[in-house]
């Protein structure tokens, strides 16, 4: 679903992201891990052509579209519909005076999903909301009437309703409480398993990543310093920076299992 080769993103001549290779297949989860300024978010945004001021070179293919050379029209076909972007605080992106149900119906219409019929959209919406374990009642609420965890799950429901095949998520749970984070992670895992969604996750939380990702890329100052299967990278890190990150993970006594 995602194929990246020799991606280089520069701002004003300065190299901020240099990714030689990044592949995410259907049903897979790949995580980009790094600290502030590592280039992890820039990499994610460049997959949808959302870095307009940058000089970009390389090859980026997402859902069969060559992103770096695609026409704006071709990009619009994948943005939002086939590829969903989930950010740290979805509440900020939701129009405050619009009920969530209205917002979702508009998005479906805009992307031509549900043949424009009210009945068709209602079914799709109900199914999407159920897939993220939200009460259908949420559709009658305004954005300020839902919690952060509910807003994040609504963002995922929106992606499902629009028929997303790929989810790009930038720190989707770092603004949430741990118990709520556990719920959102549970939903992400189900969507992968049941719908074969490809998931690219950007996170600074190595422990979280270790519980969900198949493969990991570790980035520092724009460069990928290490990559490989999550289990291998986290158990036998080869780069000193990966080791430093792992040592900084604080443990909590009393493992749950």
């Amino acid at each position: 679903m995602i194929e990246v080769r020799d991606l280089r993103v520069r701002y004003g001549g300065r190299l901020v992201a240099d990714v030689p290779e990044l592949d995410v297949g259907a049903g897979e989860c790949v995580a980009i891990v790094g600290e502030s300024g590592s280039g992890k978010s820039t990499t994610l945004l460049s997959l949808l052509g959302l870095t307009p001021d940058a000089e970009i070179s390389g090859q980026v293919r997402v859902c069969g579209v060559e992103v770096l050379t695609a026409s704006p029209r071709r990009l619009r076909e994948i943005r939002g519909a086939r590829v969903a972007l989930v950010m740290q605080s979805p509440q900020a992106a939701l129009s405050p005076a619009t009920r969530l149900g209205v917002l979702m119906r508009r998005a479906l219409k805009l992307h031509g999903v549900g043949n424009g019929s009210a009945k068709g959209s209602a079914e799709i919406m109900a199914e999407a909301v159920a897939a993220v374990m939200l009460d259908p009642e949420i559709l009658t609420r305004y954005p300020h009437e839902v919690s952060g965890g509910q807003a994040q799950r609504f963002a995922l429901a929106l992606a499902i309703a629009l028929g997303a095949e790929v989810i790009l998520a930038d720190e989707p749970t770092s603004a949430l409480d741990v118990t709520v984070q556990a719920e959102v992670v549970g939903v992400l895992r189900r969507l992968r398993a049941e719908r074969g969604l490809a998931l690219l996750l950007v996170s600074h939380d190595l422990a979280l990543v270790s519980t969900i990702a198949d493969r990991v890329l570790v980035m520092k100052d724009g460069a990928v310093v290490e990559s490989g299967p999550a289990a291998r990278v986290l158990a036998e890190p080869r780069h000193p920076y990966t080791r430093e990150l792992l040592e900084a993970v604080l443990s909590v006594p009393g493992a749950s299992l």
Binding site: T179, V180, A182, E183, S210, T211, L250, G254
Partner: protein, 300 residues
């Protein structure tokens, strides 16, 4: 013991958000653990004298805060906020010098340099402004500023949550090395484990479990403490578990946690009083079952 909350109820307007909390700030670091809306920051504000209790008292030594000498109190008890609290226009050195006690102007420059060194910064940074420093350096400046009056107690509200993990680890080392006592407010269990000998877990404005941090995390006696602990992802561990419905509203009467609790029984409609169980105090009718590892369903 520097500060003590005695049956303190706190709120904004007429609505209480913290209910009849009693706890001591003891030696070795005290942690207030809770999630958004648990009342932990409200309680910290009361300990700083920034919020007057609706009922109950905050004791400072043998006096209530209402009657205490506030000048002495402000020197003894210092807040450490997140680094965004620094004045962006002010040089670092000026910012710290401003916090020095009155009458110490003559040696101020020397004292600022000492404070910067104490928090592991180059004294040369005194001439810089906040935006010229990294996030970790700014957090160190905030700590240096709090240390300027040589306080006995630091009240820290999420001191590392905005920092990268490698930076966080170094700030925690610094905090652990200081002489001042600590009250730490956080949602991060691992940070509490590093810095606090004793911890109190808050849920919906009530202390549900108190005791030695190690015991609380290794073998929780309250179902909420256990839910919190099991929701923390572990390196190479299983996916974090969502026990019960994380977002269920706290129950109005009875045990506030019962609507989310996998162990709830009819008895839980009666509010549990805090009681001593093994090494801790816990407000749960089924504490013994939780300690024994019961995972769900009512007892038969």
């Amino acid at each position: 013991m520097i500060l003590r909350a005695e049956r303190v109820t706190l709120g904004y307007g007429r609505r209480p958000v913290v209910h009849e909390v009693t706890l001591d700030i003891t030696e070795g670091g005290v942690g207030l653990i809770g999630e958004s809306g648990s009342g932990k920051t409200t309680l910290a504000r009361a300990f700083l004298g920034l919020l007057t209790p609706m009922s109950g008292n905050i004791w400072y030594g043998d006096q209530t805060l209402k009657k205490a000498d506030l000048r002495k109190f402000r020197k003894d008890v210092q807040p450490v906020f997140q680094a965004e609290a620094l004045d962006p226009r002010m040089r670092i050195g000026t910012s710290i010098a401003e916090a020095l006690p009155r009458g110490s102007r003559p040696g101020a420059k020397q004292r600022v340099a000492e404070l910067l060194e104490q928090v592991g910064l180059d004294p040369g940074l005194a001439a810089r402004r906040p935006h010229q420093l990294s996030g970790g350096q700014r957090q160190r400046v905030v700590i240096a500023r709090a240390l300027a009056v040589d306080p006995r107690l630091l009240i820290l509200d999420e001191p590392t949550s905005a920092l990268d993990v490698t930076v966080q680890a170094r700030i925690l080392d610094l905090l652990a090395s200081l002489d001042a006592e600590r009250l730490l407010i956080t949602h991060n269990l691992a940070v509490v484990e590093r810095l606090c000998r004793t911890s109190h877990v808050l849920f919906a404005g009530r202390v549900v479990e108190s005791g030695p941090t190690r015991d609380l995390l290794a073998n929780p006696a309250h179902p909420y403490t256990r839910a919190l602990r099991d929701a923390v992802p572990r390196l190479g561990g299983p996916p974090p578990e969502a026990t019960g419905r994380a977002e269920a509203v706290p129950a109005g009467t009875g045990c506030p946690f019962r609507l989310r609790c996998p162990l709830a029984v009819p008895e839980c409609e009666r509010a549990p009083e805090p009681r001593d169980v093994e090494s801790r105090q816990v407000a749960c009718h089924r504490a013994e079952d939780v300690l024994a590892g019961a995972s769900g369903g009512p007892v038969t």
